[in-house]
Homo-oligomer: 129 residues x 2
């Protein structure tokens, strides 16, 4: 049996994926994969997600150049969530977020409101042309 | 407008949640919250999830004593994923997984198979009585 068969896929054939930075352990982003995306990720050693909004495979960094080199692929105890340990390439420090920030998780709950607490490292208009 | 209204909930009224250890940055587990769970989490400073299998609120640690003290609540750029930074209480080192392991993400893809790479810190039968 393939390792892919051991994953508990959603009814839509997807699995949630957490991308964590290899060196810092920072959580960079959250996305989804289908079976083909996960197979390609393992094969290429670069993160390939399933874009639910675009309805197609999404090789992370295909537009921005911010490719994720995969160091580890893990699953949780229920085999229904994937954890990727990645090196975020293309910029130093790594930019995973489409807003030009290191991590997508830049909004912190403080005094009853969401506050942006991480800097924009690169203007998004210069990332996506 | 409440900070809770700014979250993009699923059609089922849920949001995916990543729990990350405050000190080590280890990703401990992945779960779901509904609006009430997230409100309670912020109010109590302890993680309260929505158990989809049991169909009820789940105060993490209610049986095991492995409560998660919340240090930060973050959301991502799309406001549809929550990241909790928590202290995993009740055992040293912290046990987040029902298998008695530190993290739920203990299965690593290696040579085309999932391999358990993290030790069981405490026998689950002595955690859940």
């Amino acid at each position: 049996m393939s390792w892919l068969d051991q994953i508990t896929w959603t009814d839509d054939g997807l699995v949630p994926v957490i991308a964590q930075e290899w060196q810092s352990n920072d959580v960079l982003m959250f996305a989804w994969m289908n079976r083909e995306a996960l197979a390609l990720t393992a094969q290429r050693g670069e993160a390939v997600y399933w874009s639910r909004s675009r309805g197609r495979l999404w090789h992370k960094g295909e537009e921005s150049g911010h490719v994720q080199r995969v160091h580890e692929i893990r699953i949780d105890c229920d085999a229904d969530v994937v954890l990727l340990k990645v090196e975020q390439l293309g910029h130093q420090p790594g930019i995973a977020c489409h807003t030009g920030r290191h991590s997508c998780f830049f909004q912190l709950l403080k005094d009853g409101a969401w506050q942006s607490v991480e800097p924009v490292l690169k203007d998004p208009s210069s990332i996506y042309k």
